[in-house]
Amino acid sequence: MIARIITIDQLTSILKVIIEDDDDLQDIWIDGEISNLTIARSGHAYFTLKDATSQLSAVMWRTALARQQTLPREGDRVIAHGSVTFYQPRGNLQLQLDVLQPQGTGILQLQLEELRQRLEAEGLFDPGRKRALPEFPKRIGVVTSASGAVWHDIQQVISRRFPLAELILSPSLVQGDGAPESIVQALACLQETTAPDVIIIGRGGGSLEDLWAFNDERVVRAVFAARVPVISAVGHETDTTLVDFVADMRAPTPSAAAELAVPDLSMIAEGLEDVRFRLDTLIERQLAEAMQLLDDMQDRLVRVSPLTRLETLLHDLEPLEIRLQNGIRHRLQMASQTVRAFTDVLEALNPQSLMGRGYSFICDDTTGMAIRSIDQVSTGTSIRAILGDGEIGAKVSHVRHRNTLETIHD
């Protein structure tokens, strides 16, 4: 080996390459304790990660810190994930950490947390990219196991709530080593062959290992890339997988996912009855308004019609007529009274009634003239005495003046 002299810069450059090109050093889990923690004004956390015998300086950038569920504290025993970097200006080794988990956390969970933070940083879980579910999906795709309860539950709920839909299962493995690839293929096949409006992806509950396929980066990315909204229903409500984070909607159970996917037709049917009632009410109101308008017009027409004026005139005539009738009746009564009075007088003067009292009327039988004086008759003149009930024919036997009571014409 030929000795040669190099500069510090050349040396640090070599060290930097050696360290930063080592894949193991760039994706490393480290067990250690936090000390000398400072959170700078910039928001970055600087601290030392140490154990009983050694230590390394570490940094956690503000963006990584923001994704932490719990902030690092002085003295914490942690499992940290990150990369080893070499900072040439100071000749320092520095750990750049992106995940800090409490000591005792299982490796699966650590990997999950690291993946979650990485995908979150990439924007896969951004609430702003969640798509709204279609109100009336025509075709619903389901990615799950053909034999599990999930498919059965989804069929039940959608058959009951929204039988207008078409339901298509794209079967996949949901656990085991082949599951992630199977789910990715099932998603692709479903979208290529059937163009669903919405996709439900899920499986029943299980351990973290059972649900592992739904934390697989390939699966998460396939869900993210889906052309239509995806509803996740993985495990029980307490289990959360990365597919739940990336899905447009997360359901606590497969049945709940099916209920989220479709409206309830029986509710729609009820709504239709309400609409029918509103339609009826509206049209009835409009008809009633039209009728009211007609009535008003008719009233106004009647008010201005000549017939109405005639009736008014007739009405005005009525008292006149009554006065006329009253007047006539009064006059007639007066006349009738007068007639009655004359009748009484006449009655009093009726010769018949005098005759009833013994008087009789005497007339010349020949001439019929009433005899008012003894001078009108002489002895032998035929006379007639008219009484109340008949007459008596007679001849004058003598004439005698009242004063002398002597016979003059003998």
Partner: protein, 77 residues
């Protein structure tokens, strides 16, 4: 869904269930606005009633269609 829903509007167009519901909503709204002539209202009313009847018939006659895709690897079976 369009192919299984026998809803047609007055123009004779085949409507999806969703579109039929939307048309019904539109009809109710236009009647509620009250700017229609009586004759227009009656026409709208009859169209709305017909659409409601058809939607109901669709709901009553709905039968879900369920199928399973087959893939070469037969995953999940």
């Amino acid at each position: 869904m369009t192919d299984i829903v026998a809803v047609t509007n007055d123009a004779g167009e085949k409507l999806s269930f969703e579109d039929a519901l939307q048309q019904i909503r539109n009809i109710v709204t236009s009647l509620e606005d009250g700017n229609l002539t009586l004759e227009e209202s009656m026409t709208k009313y009859q169209e709305g009633s017909k659409l409601i009847d058809q939607c109901r018939a669709t709901i009553n006659g709905a039968e879900i269609r369920i199928s399973e895709l087959m893939r070469e690897d037969e995953s999940g079976h």
